[in-house]
Structures are given as structure tokens and as C-alpha cells.
């Protein structure tokens, strides 16, 4: 009897290839690009062309062929367009490896909800898929850009997120809460022309830009500048390396500073019957240049400089928040702070949260930034060498 069962079990193992996924039959989608045009929605699959990837090759292309291909079709709905693209592919499109979705401006203006719905429901698309916006027709911009620093366009996007160069917004960020659902910031990928960017003199290259404000799944004006985007990144605790300069406290020159990371604490408090969101960025910065006569050895001057940095940070954060708040888009989902801390009051205002957020919620910023290191020299180059000589 036992032998019979074992042999039966062995027989069962023959069915192991039922759901087989042959590597040679797969087209792994590296980036999903979605645009809207007059005929409907255009879906583009960015696929690494594995047949052109010769082993051992590390440069852009091997044996003359392209290593990354774009396949696109237009249809009235997202799903129909995807089916049409699949119809053009000789391999089965596999979206399980996809980590990036890029949308065009017009699509974002009319609403990114179809993408959010598809990504959330389809078990093959992960909820931490990154979203980007191209200020223009995404497919055209992406397809014509030259990729120089990495092998594939997708690697650049992945590195931007990994190194916190760009703001990271995932599918999940749009669906964190009901009251502010569909609100978020979409980082913009920039395609610079020939005079600026990663490879000056060549055709357009990829870079990061500002960020677009999305309210209830639709793009709303204005677009945040790169500086404001950095402030937004900092509020979301994503700001990594950041260079900036501050006017010197002593005279007209300026002081260059560098911060490796910003830690932001956010909370909600009730003051005089009004709710305040308290944002507290803390950071330790390094001085990397001193184009003034300021002396880092004098504690009072350093203290003054720290106050200036705090002011600068407060101002940048406040300006950014003001712009975002005026649109009524709760991109940082502050409603969740209110929900957990003041559930009673929350129930009263949750139905008109966006109006409350826009008109009544106070946002206070209290930066605390310290100068940790003053660099390798004591006095500035100017005061030590140039002005010294002038005195002679």
C-alpha cells in the first residue's frame, strides 16, 4: 500500500510544469508609460530587449541593436490599450517586475485614478510601484532621451528613488486615507535640452524636476519648483544629500552648506480651539564653503548663522506648504494625524476635510538645524589669503 501511495505521489510530481513561465517567453516590463491623446489612452511598455543583450556587454548596446524597446498602442481604456500592446508583442508581457509608472501631463490632468485602480487590484503590480510625471507627452519624451549614466532608463528611475534624488511617491501613497484619498505629489522627470543636463551637447537627457500636486487623482496647478520639492521631500522624511547657501550673518558674502539627512517630526496640537500641524525639521549640516569674513571659531557668529539657516528652512517649508495648502490637496495626509489624536472632532469635520485643511488648519514650522562641522579650514580662503595680502 505504501509503495502504491509513493508511486502515486511521484506521478503527481509530473504535473509540476502546469503553470510554467518560460523565461524566453516573457517580456519583462521595466516601465509602464501612460499618456492621453485625442483618441484615448496610450499605453507604452518599456521592455529590455533580452535578445539584444549579449553576455559580457556592458555598454549601451550590443551587436548594433537597441537594448530597450518601447511598444505602445492607443485605445479608449487602459485595459484595452494594454491588450493591444500585448497583441504586438511576441512574448507574454510580464508586469511583475515593473517598479515604475510614468504618466504624461494630459493624462494626469484628466485623472490618474484608472492607473491607481489597476495597480491596486492587479496582484502582479506591487503597491510600492513608483509613480512619475512627465510635463509633456511622456512616451515621446522618454523614448527620445539618451540614457548615458546607466544601461537602461529604468535603472535611472530606480537610482533616483534609491538615492533619494527624487521625491518618492508610490501607488500606496495615494490611498492612505479616505478623507484625503487621491491626494499626493508626483515627482517630475525632466528632459533637458542640449545646453544643460547630464550630457551637455548630446540629445536630451533625463533629470529630475519639481513635483506636481495631485488632488483627488487629478493634477492641479501650480507645479512645485525643485526647491519646493526638496522641502516637500523633507516633510515626507525623504530628503537626502542637499547643498544650499545662506547669506553670511557678517557681511554680503554667502556660506555654502551641506546636509546629509533631515529628520522631520510631525504632530498635531490644539491651540485656542484651532488645530495646528507642527512640523519640526531637525538636521545637522556641514559648512563646505565660506565666501565671507565670518569666523567659524566665534561661537556667536556660528549661532547667528544657525538662526539664519533655521529662518531659511522655516521660510522654504512654509512657502511650500502655503502653495500646497491653497490647492486644498492634503498631499501629506495630515488628516490621519487628526483622526488618531482627536477622533471625536475628526468625525465632525471628516466629510469636508479638504476645505477645513485649506481654510482653517494652521501649519507651524519649527526648524532646528545645527552646524555640526565647519570643514577642514579655520578661516575662509578670502580672509586668510586675499584680504591678508591686500593689507600689506
Amino acid at each position: 500500500m505504501r509503495k502504491l501511495i509513493i508511486s502515486l505521489l511521484l506521478l503527481m510530481m509530473l504535473t509540476g510544469c502546469w503553470s510554467s513561465e518560460e523565461l524566453n517567453d516573457q517580456a519583462f516590463i521595466g516601465v509602464l508609460i501612460i499618456d492621453r491623446n485625442d483618441d484615448g489612452i496610450e499605453v507604452t511598455f518599456g521592455v529590455p530587449l533580452t535578445t539584444n543583450l549579449a553576455s559580457g556587454e556592458t555598454s549601451g548596446s550590443a551587436s548594433g541593436g537597441e537594448v530597450f524597446g518601447y511598444f505602445s498602442r492607443t485605445a479608449p481604456t487602459l485595459e484595452e490599450a494594454m491588450q493591444k500592446v500585448q497583441g504586438d508583442l511576441s512574448r507574454r508581457a510580464n508586469i511583475g517586475q515593473n517598479r515604475n509608472i510614468v504618466v504624461g501631463r494630459r493624462f494626469a490632468e484628466e485623472g490618474i485614478t484608472p492607473v491607481l485602480e489597476l495597480a491596486a487590484r492587479n496582484p502582479n503590480i506591487r503597491m510600492n510601484t513608483n509613480m512619475f510625471l512627465v510635463d509633456g507627452y511622456a512616451k515621446d519624451e522618454v523614448a527620445k532621451a539618451t540614457v548615458t549614466s546607466e544601461r537602461f532608463f529604468i535603472s535611472i528611475l530606480n537610482k533616483y528613488v534609491e538615492h533619494r534624488t527624487a521625491l518618492q511617491t508610490t501607488i500606496k501613497d495615494f490611498m492612505l486615507s479616505k478623507a484625503s484619498g487621491g491626494d499626493g505629489l508626483l515627482p517630475i522627470i525632466n528632459f533637458s535640452n542640449t545646453t544643460e543636463g547630464a550630457m551637455v551637447g548630446k540629445s536630451s537627457t533625463v533629470g529630475t524636476g519639481g513635483a506636481a500636486i495631485i488632488k483627488k487623482g487629478k493634477l492641479v496647478e501650480p507645479i512645485l519648483t525643485p526647491d519646493q520639492t526638496s522641502a516637500a521631500q523633507s516633510i515626507r522624511n525623504q530628503l537626502g544629500n542637499y547643498f544650499f547657501s545662506i547669506k553670511s550673518p557678517t557681511e554680503n558674502g554667502w556660506i555654502g552648506l551641506y546636509s546629509t539627512s533631515v529628520d522631520v517630526k510631525t504632530k498635531i496640537v490644539k491651540k485656542e480651539k484651532k488645530y495646528h500641524i507642527l512640523i519640526k525639521p531637525t538636521s545637522e549640516v556641514e559648512a563646505i564653503s565660506n565666501n565671507s569674513t565670518m569666523n567659524f571659531a566665534i561661537y556667536e557668529e556660528v549661532k547667528k548663522l544657525e538662526d539664519r539657516i533655521d529662518q531659511f528652512s522655516d521660510q522654504l517649508h512654509a512657502d511650500t506648504m502655503l502653495i500646497i495648502q491653497q490647492t486644498g490637496a492634503d498631499v501629506f495626509h495630515f488628516d490621519r494625524y487628526m483622526m488618531v489624536k482627536y477622533p471625536q472632532e475628526w468625525r465632525k469635520i471628516k466629510d469636508h476635510w479638504r476645505e477645513y485643511y485649506r481654510d482653517q488648519l494652521a501649519i507651524d514650522i519649527d526648524s532646528d538645524i545645527r552646524i555640526r562641522r565647519k570643514g577642514s579650514t579655520v578661516r575662509s580662503f578670502k580672509s586668510q589669503f586675499i584680504e591678508h595680502n591686500e593689507g600689506d
Binding site: 503527481m12 506591487r126 530606480n158 500606496k172 492612505l176 490621519r336 488618531v340 489624536k341 477622533p343
Partner: protein, 368 residues
Amino acid sequence: MTTKVVTQKQMYKYFTIHIITTIIMFMIGIVLQQSGYSAPLGVLIGACIGIVITFFSIAFAKRRPDAFFVHYGADIVTRWLHYPLMAFIIMTNFLLVAINLWEIQDLLLQFYLTGTPSWIILGLCGLCISYMARYGIKSMFRAAEGMFYLSMITFIIIPYLVHSNMEWFLARGFATIASVKEAWPTAYHLGSIFGEASLILYIYPYISQASYTRKTTIRFTMLAALMVICHLIPILIVLGPDLAQNLNYPELDIIRLIKSGSYLETLDPIIIALWLVSIFIKLSFILFVISHMLSRILKLKYSKPLIYPICAFIIVSTICLAQSHTQFFSMHNGGVSTCVYISQLIPLLYYVIDVMRNRRQQMEEESL
């Protein structure tokens, strides 16, 4: 007399796995939909309900520690009542296995084995559990002993792996938002799962050092409740209540949120494999209990030959159970828990009648 083959430690480990696998694998989505922030409170109340039910079973079993309930039950309530009641309990356990199998194949088909016919998956799962059940009562408890630490590690490691995604300020909601009213649906649903420990009654003669059973029950129920809460809290803190409520498998989704680029990014198949083993252990135990009861009712000497036919029957009924997820849930919400509660509380009826009879006998003896 039967040999006492199941130790208290084995029972502790087995029932911990028995309770947490189903809850964490399949129930977390429903629990969050019903209770949101109140879910942990619901788990605790459910655990208390489970302990009460199990204590009744144990108290009843203690009256005849060396005999099987299926045997002596007929002496308490007459054969005409005993057999239909046993049939009801058997059918409920049947349904439990079928529901679990259905959920396993649904999960596997949706995420991993797209394209495989469901009867193949069910057939293989059925073969595994019936093979294990055939080895007798010892096999499940020994397997549970082996699996216990492994599954505990994964159950602990998941919350740790997603800790970078946690938004701690959301934790305040457990104190401010949770309410008993919201927690109740969860408590009711999970109470029936915690109450499954009352199956101890059917294997009581196999348990060694039976006097410690109650203590063990408290220990494994508390551990299981703690493990479930350890999973609910990260899900709520990572995803927030609104998003978590909208997911069918929030547990899988938070595993998939593990930072991209990390080599543990594709951890979910490993977790699924471990879950499957744990749930197989559970299902073989229920299958064993069913076959055991049936063989006693049919007055067969051995229960082994019954296992394959029962399993085949379960698999066929599972295939016919539901054609779609929606159909399955519309059926599942409609009273399966109540059915399970009734089957768990049937021994209480016996207990009451038994106590009353004994009293009357005593009184009669005294009056004589």
C-alpha cells in the same frame, strides 16, 4: 486503554499553530474590514470566548478521562439524539476543512499558480493532509513541534522587516479609536476559531498529564492572540486603517512592501510555503478527528481506511463549494461561525444532562 501519546508541550505548540494559521492567512482582511482599529481588542475578546468554550469541553472530558466522547455520549443522551448531534459536528468540521482548502486554492491560483486547474491543487493538498492524518494522532503533534519555532520566527520577522515603513503616530489610534462595539464582529468571528481548541474533547484520552490541560489552554490561547495582534498592529501602522480595510490579503501586501532592492523583497513565496505546511497540519488534525468520530459511530475497529474516502469527499465538495470569491464570501459570512459555535457548544448540552442525571441518581440513592 489508549496510550497517552500527546504531551502538554506538543499540545501547546500544535494549538498555537492551529489557531494562528487560519487567522493570519485568511481572516486578517475580514477582521480589519469589520473592526479597523478595534481589531486587536476583538482578538482579545475572541480569545476569552475561545477559552470559555474550551474550558467547558475540558470540564466535560474530565468526567470520563479514559473514554472517548463519541462512545459514551450515547449513554448520556440516548442513541437517537447522540448520532444526529455527532453527524452535525462531523459536518461542521467537514465544512471547516472544505472552507480552508477553498481558500488555499484561491490564494495560490490568484498569486502564484495562475493557469493551474484548481482540482490539481486541491488534489495535491488533499493527498498531503490525508497522508499525514493516516499516520495517526502522533504525526500532527510531532509535526507541529517541528514547525512551531520555524513559523514563530517568520511570524516575528515579518513585523520587523516592514518596520521602516511604519508610521508610528498611527499607533495612537489603538487607544483613541478602538471601541468594544466595533470589536464585536471580530470577537464573534475569531471566538469560533479560538474555540476550535475544544476539539481537545475528542482526543482527551490521548493526552498525557491531562490535569494540566486547562493551564496549557490558557497558555496557547494567549500566545496565539499575542501573535495575531503582533500582525494586526504592523498592518494598521504600515497601511493605515482605510487602506488595510480595502485589501483582501493585507498580510501578503505588507510583505510585498518590503523595501524594493532588498534581497528579501520576494519573501512572500517562502512565507506562503510555511503557511501551507502549518495549515496542512491543522487540516490533517481535523481530518483525523472526523475519521476517528466516524469510525466510532460506524463501530469500525480502525479509522485509517476512512481517511482517503473522507478526504476525496471533502475535495469534491470543495470544488463544488463556490465558483468565485464573491460567492464564497456571501456564503462564508452567512453563519459558518454560528454553525461552528453550535458544534462547539453541543458537548455543553451533554455536560448539563450528565450533571443533572448524576444528581438525580445521587438523590435516588440517598432516598433509598
